[in-house]
Amino acid sequence: MADPMRIRANNKDGVTEVRVLMSHPMESGVRKDASGALVPAKYITDLDATHNGKTVLKAMFSGAVSQNPFLSFKFKGGAKGEKVAVKWVDNKGESRTDEATIA
């Protein structure tokens, strides 16, 4: 099971800034390990961020996104105390959802 995502959501002047740090190896599938064998591809392919059930960002990632992906974005709205949820799915079908409270 992957480690929980670290999500920070801050509201200032009506705009909520969200920063997410995901825990994921993000293997592109082209890297070789010490013995020369290809490390199989395992990377987050899709991400969905929602606030009060409404999608505020969708992302499609490739193996070129760095390990332990970082993502930052802003959306209008959101009030302190409300929740922002982030869900990712990887190429192996694993997924993880975490949420944070807007500060």
Partner: protein
């Protein structure tokens, strides 16, 4: 106009059939670009797969370091001041598959995203945004030094 309508109906029913057959999840059907675009090997073809050709625009900016000390973790961001920006794509020209990430920006979300990308070598980083169905882009060169001191 007829052509567009036919294309829309064709695409919608094709996607709809795929969703009904369970071959494409609902989420994928709403995706910005076909996942095949991420396997394309040249940046020109990747931009074509996103939706054609992109016009250079000073309303789009790429934020990436002039010199990246660690090519495995390079902070890259893109911002678009063009109204009705609905999608943002980040491409790394010299990567084996240039399209690195795509974002769908719903109404109410700022057209500004930041993430971290892998770059194998010094390269142009290109941001392509879609606004009102048209593509616009901006480019910035990032030099990559793997290990060692910067500069």
């Amino acid at each position: 106009m007829n052509n567009t309508r036919r294309t829309v109906i064709k695409t919608t029913s094709a996607l709809g059939t795929l969703v009904a057959l369970g071959l494409v999840t609902q989420q994928q059907a709403m995706a910005a670009v076909d996942r095949a675009a991420f396997d394309v090997k040249s940046i020109a073809d990747a931009i074509k797969a996103i939706g054609g050709t992109a016009a250079n625009s000073d309303q789009v900016s790429v934020v990436s370091p002039d010199i990246a000390e660690n090519g495995a973790v390079v902070p890259v961001g893109a911002t678009s001041n063009i109204p009705n920006t609905t999608e943002i794509y980040l491409l790394v020209e010299k990567n084996p598959t240039p399209l690195a990430a795509g974002f769908i920006v719903p109404a109410g979300t700022e057209a500004s995203v930041q993430t971290r990308l892998k770059m194998g070598q010094s390269t142009n980083v290109v941001a392509v945004v879609k606004a009102d169905g048209k593509l616009f882009s901006a480019t910035k060169e990032t030099k990559v030094t793997l290990g060692g001191c910067g500069g």
